[in-house]
Subunit: 331 residues, 2 copies
DNA sequence: CGGAGTTATGTAATCGATTTCAAGGGGGTT
DNA sequence: AACCCCCTTGAAATCGATTACATAACTCCG
């Protein structure tokens, strides 16, 4: 190895052309004479040349990367969304960087929102400060969103989805329906609660009893304990939880106490994460098209990077998935 | 906005110093006179200057990024490992890029293994070609590994872990123990199968009946169907599956048929993904320290990038987690 | 007071590619 | 023969930071 790593001038020298020509072969082959091109390609092969992306990016004033800001990387809900994004970004020549907004200290996460770090940002966390994001790089919001921050959003209709879920429980004959909410201050929490209340109101039923939650298994378990702690006569006969993880925790707790789902209580989740189809009982839930959310978000971002100024929302359809955890109330 | 984006010369001009001095304030403040430093910092504030990473990286001949090659981003098993890696890399000033080795076409994934793209690579997929990886950037293998490829590995002792699992089943009194294996050709598949066979042999029991699998829920479900298809007298009384996801599929299928776990069959998983603690029955399994795997892998890579040549393995301890899915055989 | 040593700063080369601008050569037209 | 155009190609500027080397000022000491 005479050179640590061949550069474009090494290729140029070997091929007997200028660096400009080599560069053209690399990025715009058809404008180079066929024979010259062949020579250069041969030189590239012989030297084992690989281009330096830092240099190209510097010249192009771009980074070739897109950052996804995820509230919690450990949450499997996001992994399929990331997979969808990667599937769109990779063919377009972009790298996907992921960052956990919780793991890294508050505002420092915004260091990713710089043009020299990333060409664009996909934000999946509605709790980030709008000021920090403004005027930096193209942004797309997915799933969650930031009130007062104008950017294209890729989302589902959470309110309507919650309505569908509760309508189903009502149709089964339930009259006392509880809701286990998401974390306080989250936009999804509010939308799903609103949908729940709307559906009940539309059927002349009283507002739901609401148990606190935060989308995690553990909080679902606590909700289960809280439900069990009620006098049997006062227990809602159906519970709609704002996430599947919580539903799993809830069902686990209820079954542990010896009661049975859906005989003693109907349970409805939200998200349709893969596992819940295989539990016993299989969970009835709202299916979120997670891969599609990732793909659309990535595509919207690419459009934005390409100069598209549109900021209308993309609302993807959900599906009511009925499985074994919901049934008519007893008696 | 007169400038699109202030550069280091703008700061220098405003502070009345050279770009060299500004650069020094940025990366080595203590060698600059306190008063000058104050001036420069003030100028940085006034101009709203942000440094361009592409330029710095070009000069430093580094990228500031680390790539994780994951077999399947949708698999929640990996998300917690990624979280662990991010927790170590971010404070060290590295970005974490993730790529799905399955989603992107075969060899093209190796484009990430270039010094100008990433300063290092964490490979979680044992099926990548060793030749492609050799002699490129520092590599650390995590979980899986590539036979014949020398690099530090961060892993668990899969053989021994499988042994522990099967020993437990034997201790409960089981004599007919089946194994549901991982995908053919995978190093984990072989190690876990070997451990299973070893444990049985040590107790004078015949080799296990082996059902094919590939770590996915669906394959676990198929294994459940295959188990059910056996004449009741020939059914193994316990099944050890090479992943929790498969165990979930298996249990789901068995319970669907009206049988009960662990009364009719004991089930043992592998991984201890978060959800399985909340199923009914809760799954007995082998706990893998996923966050720690991620952290250690990231740390090893940082060491390697820093010049450490060591390539010994880091073997992290697993735990046998006993929950409700295993019990003595009937009768 | 001259010389060594220290500290602080500036000048200019450098990282490795891309791209503007200019120019050479060939063909066709009048 | 003069002119124009197109096709190729090269020279050199450029992207925005870092840093080796040079230099100036100041201190210390015999």
């Amino acid at each position: 190895m005479q050179h640590q790593r061949p550069k474009i001038v090494d290729v140029a020298r070997l091929a007997g052309v200028s660096t400009a020509t080599v560069s053209r072969v690399l990025s715009n082959p058809q404008i180079v004479n066929a024979e010259t091109r062949r020579l250069v390609e041969e030189a590239i092969r012989q030297t084992g040349y690989r281009l330096n992306h830092a240099a190209r990016n510097l010249r192009h004033r771009r980074t070739g990367g897109v950052v996804a800001l995820v509230p919690n990387l450990s949450n499997s809900f996001f992994s399929q969304i990331l997979a969808g994004m990667a599937a769109v970004l990779a063919p377009a020549g972009y790298n996907l960087l992921v960052a956990d907004t919780r793991a890294e200290g508050g505002a420092s996460i915004l260091r990713y929102a710089e043009p020299s770090r990333a060409d664009g940002l996909i934000v999946l966390d509605g709790s980030l400060p709008a000021e920090g994001l403004a005027r930096r790089v193209p942004v797309v919001l997915a799933c969650e969103w930031i009130p007062g921050f104008a950017a294209p959003r890729v989302k589902i209709d959470n309110r309507q989805a919650a309505q569908m879920a509760v309508e189903h429980l009502i149709a089964l004959g339930h009259r006392q329906i509880a809701h286990v909410a998401g974390p306080v201050g989250n936009v999804l929490t509010d939308a799903r609660l609103a949908g729940t209340e709307l559906a009940l109101k539309a059927h002349g039923l009283p507002p739901p009893r609401v148990f606190p939650g935060d989308f995690t298994l553990a909080s679902g378990q606590r909700a289960g304990a809280a439900w069990l702690a009620l006098p049997p006569g006062e227990r809602p006969t159906a519970v709609f939880l704002a996430s599947d993880e919580m539903a799993c925790g809830f069902i686990g707790e209820v079954q542990h106490s010896g009661l049975t789902v859906p005989r003693d209580v109907s349970v409805m989740g939200f998200d349709d994460i893969e596992l819940v189809a295989h539990m016993t009982p299989a969970l009835s839930t709202i299916h979120q098209p997670r891969n599609a959310i990732g793909r659309h978000a990535a595509q919207r971002l690419l459009d934005r990077i390409g100069g598209d100024e549109g900021s209308e929302d993309t609302v993807l359809p959900v599906e009511l998935v009925l499985r074994g955890s919901t049934a008519p109330p007893r008696g």
